[in-house]
Symmetry: C2
Subunit: 392 residues, 2 copies
Amino acid sequence: MLNFEFYSPTEFVFGKDREDECGTYAKKYGAQRVLIHYGSGSAVRSGLLDRVKKSLSDSGIYFTELGGVKPNPRDTLVYEGIELCRKESIDFILAVGGGSVIDSSKAIAIGVPYDGDFWDFYSGKPIEKALPIGVVLTIAAAGSEGSGNSVITKEDGMLKRGTGSDLLRSKFSILDPALTQTLPAYQTACGATDIMAHVFERYFTNTKEVEITDRLCEAVLLTMVKETPRVIADPNNYDARANIMWAGMVAHNNIVGVGRQQDWNSHGLEHELSGLYDVAHGAGLAVMMPAWMEFVYKHDVMRFCQMAARVFGCNMNFADPEVTAREGIKRFREFLHSIGMPINFAELGAKEEDIPTLVEKLGVGDGRRAGFVELSAADCTEIYKIAAKASL
Amino acid sequence: MLNFEFYSPTEFVFGKDREDECGTYAKKYGAQRVLIHYGSGSAVRSGLLDRVKKSLSDSGIYFTELGGVKPNPRDTLVYEGIELCRKESIDFILAVGGGSVIDSSKAIAIGVPYDGDFWDFYSGKPIEKALPIGVVLTIAAAGSEGSGNSVITKEDGMLKRGTGSDLLRSKFSILDPALTQTLPAYQTACGATDIMAHVFERYFTNTKEVEITDRLCEAVLLTMVKETPRVIADPNNYDARANIMWAGMVAHNNIVGVGRQQDWNSHGLEHELSGLYDVAHGAGLAVMMPAWMEFVYKHDVMRFCQMAARVFGCNMNFADPEVTAREGIKRFREFLHSIGMPINFAELGAKEEDIPTLVEKLGVGDGRRAGFVELSAADCTEIYKIAAKASL
C-alpha cells in the first residue's frame, strides 16, 4: 500500500425531503448571499427550485440564480456566473443539480476570487482560494458532491479539462434519492455507468497488497450490479435509488481508492468522445471502458479474474485464467447493454473515421499516458478501434 | 434505508514515518500550546514520543505532556489532564497512542472549557464545546481516530460509559502502520476483534434494503479475515498491518453504518466485563460477540446465512438455512480462537458466578435494551451464560 492523505470534510445530509433543510445548512456554513446554480428546466418544473428558494428565504438568506448548465458544462456559462457573483457580492454557491451543475459551480467558485482567467486552473495552475459551495443533488452519477474535482468544456475547440483541490469539496451535500425518481431510464443508466467507472479507474492498479480498497471497490460494484436493473425496471424504487445514490458518493470521494495507483485512462479516452460529439459521459464510458479492458487485461490476468469472480460471479477457469478474465469483461459489457447503454461507436453516435481526430485531441504525441498500462498514441488508436467495432 | 447524516471531517495522514509531520499538521489546525497525551512507557521507549516532540518543536509549538493512560481509561487521569490544560493554557490536545489514549484526550478536550464535572457528558449531557484534538495512532483497534465517540471508566464502581459528538472528531489523524509492528500478538488480535465487532454491531440490523452498507461491512470483515492471521504469523508484515489499520478507521467512522438501525449490545455486554475484570476490550468482545449471535440468530436466519456465506465462505444449506447460520457463527469463533483470542469466561478470566453482578451493572431493570433483538435482563443473563460455557 502506498502512503496517502484522505480528507472528505463534506457534511452529507441524506434522505427524503432533506432539500427543505438547505437554508439551515447554508446558514450553518456562513452563507449570506447565495447564487443558486442549476441546469435545465426540470429543477424548475418539478418545483424543486421553489422549495430551495423557500428554504433559503426561511433562513433569511439573500439569493440570486443562474440556470442553463448543460451536460459537459461550458466555460462560457462559468464566465457569466463569475461576473454575476461579483456584481451581486455572492459569498456562497448552491449547486442544485447533477455533476455538470456542481462542476460548473466549482469553476465559478474558484473564478470569483481570482483576477485572471479561471481556465488557468483547468490548465494546471494550483487552486489557492475558492468560494464555499453547497449541493442539492438530483442525479447519482458524477460523485462531484463528495469529490474535490471539476471538469469543464472549453466551447472553443470543445476541449474538456479537469482540475482538483480539497478547496472544491462541498461544505454540505443534500442527497434525496426521491429527487432521482423522475430521471429518464437512459440518464439513470448513464449515471450508474459513471459510478462503476469511478470504481474501475481505481480498481485496476499495479499497487500490490491493497485488500481493503479492493474489497471496498467490489462492495460498490456489487451494489451497482444488484440495484441498477431494479431502478431501470421500476424508476420509483426508492430504496434501490438510495443504495445507488450513496454508492455514487462512496465511489468518488476516494475512500475506495486511497493508497493505490489509479488509472483514469477510460475517462481520458471518453472525454474526447463527449467533447467531440457532446454525448453523455456515462454513455461514452459504457463504450470505452470494456474496450480499454480488452486492450489491457493481459497485463494482469489475475486481477481481471478477481473482478470476474468477485463482481460478476464467474467461475474461475483454473486451466486457462484468460478465459475467466475475458468472461468478466464480457459480463460487464452485457450488463451495460442490459441497462440500455450503447456498446459501440454506432450505438453512441460516434464515427470510426474520427479516430485520428480523437487521438490527436488526446495530445499523447510521442509520449505515453500514465496508468495501469502506459498508453502510446498507437495504443489509444487501437482502443478506440476496439470500441468502434464492439459487439455482444 | 433510513435518512441519515454523515460527517467525517478528519484529515487522515497515512503511511510510513508520517508521525514526523505531526507538528506541521498541528500548526495547520491552529495549535500553539499542545498537551501530548499518551499511555504506557512504550511510546517513550520506542522513541516515538521524542520524534513527536521534535516535530512540534520544529514547527515552533509549545508542548507539555501527560502520560499514564491505562486500557479502559479512567476518569481520574482525565481530571488531572483538565487541570493541567487549564494551568498551561493548552489550546490543542495531541493523542499519541491507541483508543484509550484518544478517548482520554477527548474527555479532557470537553472537560477543559466546561465549568462542571466532565462526567456529566458521559451521563447524557450533550456536548457543546471541546478543544481541538489530533492523533498519532499506535494500534489499529478502536477506530477512535475517525469517530466522534469516547468511552471512559469511572474508577469509583468501575462504571464504563460513553459519549459522542462531531465536536470530538479529530482534526487530523496520523496512521503509520509501522508503529503497530512492535505490538504483542495478543494486543494485535484484540484490536482486530474490536474492528470486526464495530462492523458486526452495524451489520446486524432490522433495516431492509441496505445493500451498499451491507457490502461495505463485508468488505471490512473479509479484509480482517484475510489480513489478521498474516500479522499474527509475521508481526512485521507492513502491508497486512496497513490494510488492517485503514480497515479499523473505515469500520468505525460510520461510513459502513449509515442509514440503518445498529445494535451495540455486544459492546454493552462487554463493557461490564472489562469494567469488572479490567480485561482487554477486544478479548471481552471475542467472548461476548459469538454468544450474542447464538442467542439472536433465529430472529433473522437469512441475515446470518448472508454473513456465513459472504464473509466466511460457507456453502448455503438450502434445505436447512439454520445450519448455515450456525456454521457462520462457529467459523467466526474458530477464527477468533485461531488468532489467540479467548472464547469463554474461563479463558478470559471471568467468573460465571458474577453474572448476576454483570447484569445488575447493565442496569436493564424491567426494561429492554434496544437493538437487533431487544434484550431483557433475563436475555442478558442467558447470553452471559452462553459466553461462560462456550467451546469450539
